[in-house]
Amino acid sequence: MGKIEWAMWANEQALAAGLILLTGGIVGVAGQFRGWQFAAYGVAAGVFVCLLEYPRGRRNKGTSVERTGQYCFTVCVKSFGPLTRNYYVRAFLYAGVCVPGGFMLATVLGCVCLGIASLIYLGAAIRGEQWEPILPRKETRKPVGESIKNPPQNPPPRPPAEMRRKRAEDLEGAAYVNPISVTANE
């Protein structure tokens, strides 16, 4: 399993965890459960995790597939620099964020899922993975064909000047017409 980038799976798991935390939180708040404050926290934490996890990072090898409309999120997440680039930060952040979810049944599942995502991110961080944004690369203009830069040095091949000159005995067969008549010794 040498080439696996664990962060890819951690990302899917964290996104799912965020959604589950969010759903559990909404149910807890809407149903006015005991401890609904924890549910409200679940909603906020869920939204935060979803926003952070929505933009996929660039893979080291192979093509990276973007999620629909992730460009704005990529820019936001990228602006936090090392905080979002480093997976150790994410691992410990999620480990901390998930704890309050354990105090209420509606958010327990989200808490456990986020904990698992945190562990996978820890694994990814230990292997040295990092979050790189998927941004469109600046297109390098292909150099216009070489031949345009170097105009020809030599004139096109022509027969020598004597042959090109209009011959007196063959005036009609010549390739050009003189605007001014030319006769010898005038």
Binding site: M1, G2, K3, I4, E5, M8, W9, E12, Q13, A16, I20, T23, G24, V27, G28, G31, F33, R34, G35, R56, R59, G62, V65, G102, F103, M104, L105, A106, V108, L109, V112, C113, I116
Partner: protein
Amino acid sequence: MGNWIINHGLTSFILVVWMAINIFLFVWFYFFYDLGDQFFYTRHILGSALAWARAPAAVLNFNCLLILLPVCRNLLSLLRGSFMCCGRTMRKQLDKNLSFHKLVAYMIGLMTAVHMIAHLLNVEWYNNSRRGVYDGLSTALSDLEDSGNTTYLNPIRSTDIDAQQTPTYFVFTTIAGLTGVIITLALILIITSSMEVIRRSYFEVFWYTHHLFIIFFAGLVFHGAGRIVRSQQTTTPPHNFTFCKDRFAQWGRIPECPVPQFAGGFPQTWMWVIGPMILYVCERLLRFIRYTQTVRYRKIVIRPSKVLELQLVKNGFKMEVGQYVFLNCPALSQLEWHPFTMTSAPEEDFFSVHIRSAGDWTQKLISMVEELPEGAQGPKMGVDGPFGTASEDVFDYEVSMLVGAGIGVTPFASILKSIWYKFKDSNPKLRTRKIYFYWLCRETHAFEWFADLLQVLEREMEERGMGDFLTYKLYLTGWDQSHACHVMVHFDEDTDVVTGLKQKTHYGRPNWDKEFEQVRKENPTSVVGTFLCGPAALGTVLEKKCAKYSDVDPRKTKFYFNKENF
């Protein structure tokens, strides 16, 4: 519209039937729990959340039954064989087994979410009722003990624990709750590792995590063992709830209202899933038995462009054209089985596969084999299969269009070789009169091993005067300036500069409209089968063209589309 019916009718019908069964189960069980008298008291505490939890449970039972079936590939092969009489359209549905598996998985995910949310509400309301937050009847019902001559209704019994933690405590100390959490967690891990991104790039993560389904099914079977969904039982004298619901303070003291008795429902999930579970166990057992059978190497060839050809011999192995096998190499990985289409014909006394370096496993295999001395046997290999896919049907069509993209040409290698043998033996099973073969490839290197085959076929066809039986067109999609120059210089030569074949290589992608028009013109009354082994995008294009150029009139040309999938 008519074309759509021809190509997609049966699939849509099956999906409609499946959805109808789901809806029926949901509605039936919803009303069973929402209107049943025996649940009157339960509903008094839980409201319609009871029905909202039980209805998806029924749908889940049905779908957990279905989900194991499409992945029993030996069973599917068996069905395919026995459906030989039932026409192509039926057998084509078996191609789509993986799509069906995914669809059922989505339904399981959705219903799990509904079921879980409903149970969150249930537990919260049971908790509140137990603590006397609701009306007198609720409190009286919840107070019913589980001792002596009373049976409980409210599964939350103890009140010592902190009120906010009671639901969590309850979930983790009951069979239903604990199994529920564990199997939902397993399901979530299975789903996140099965996302397309993970599956295509890191197959091992997907494959190993998917085995959590064992935990899923084990937990599922025991999920109902606690019997905490309680219904009212008949007592002597009978307890009439319409009369007694307002007299809860007098239960047991007046003759009309004895204390109501409750019991949990008999767990039923195991009845739904036991059959498929046994079938799946048999399937895995069969794969294991096949794995232990000896496989000998007849020949190992390393082809250009990192393609490895293995010619293997196994006792009792019988194949059809275009089938695939699963290979397992314990020296590389104990648990991984990878599918490869066979490139040999059934008429040969061995079977061969061409393996391209495409990932961890294949790369390691190729490097391992490269280091072997000449003539030595390769690493121990387990072979499971053969399994049938659409290519088996190629000879049933009068006219076939075969499209292979890149390495996707492999099933067609098998088909073309088989044609060659059948022709030599004048095999009457060959219904095919005409074959159009399109090979799309990015670069020339990969052509080599296949070009040899085509050269041989070309010669044989000419010798027998059957030059127009096989029309093949090769498309080089990754050409550049140097290619074009090279071709221009050798324009007048008889054979193609790239492949050495009589048929010239085309450059760029094929114009499918033109190709389909040509096939239709040359075969005005035939049924044409189009077979693709290649990227999904090309599949969508070909499917559309098949639909576009098919005629509903049965006397005219009809195109059927078949796709290989791995």
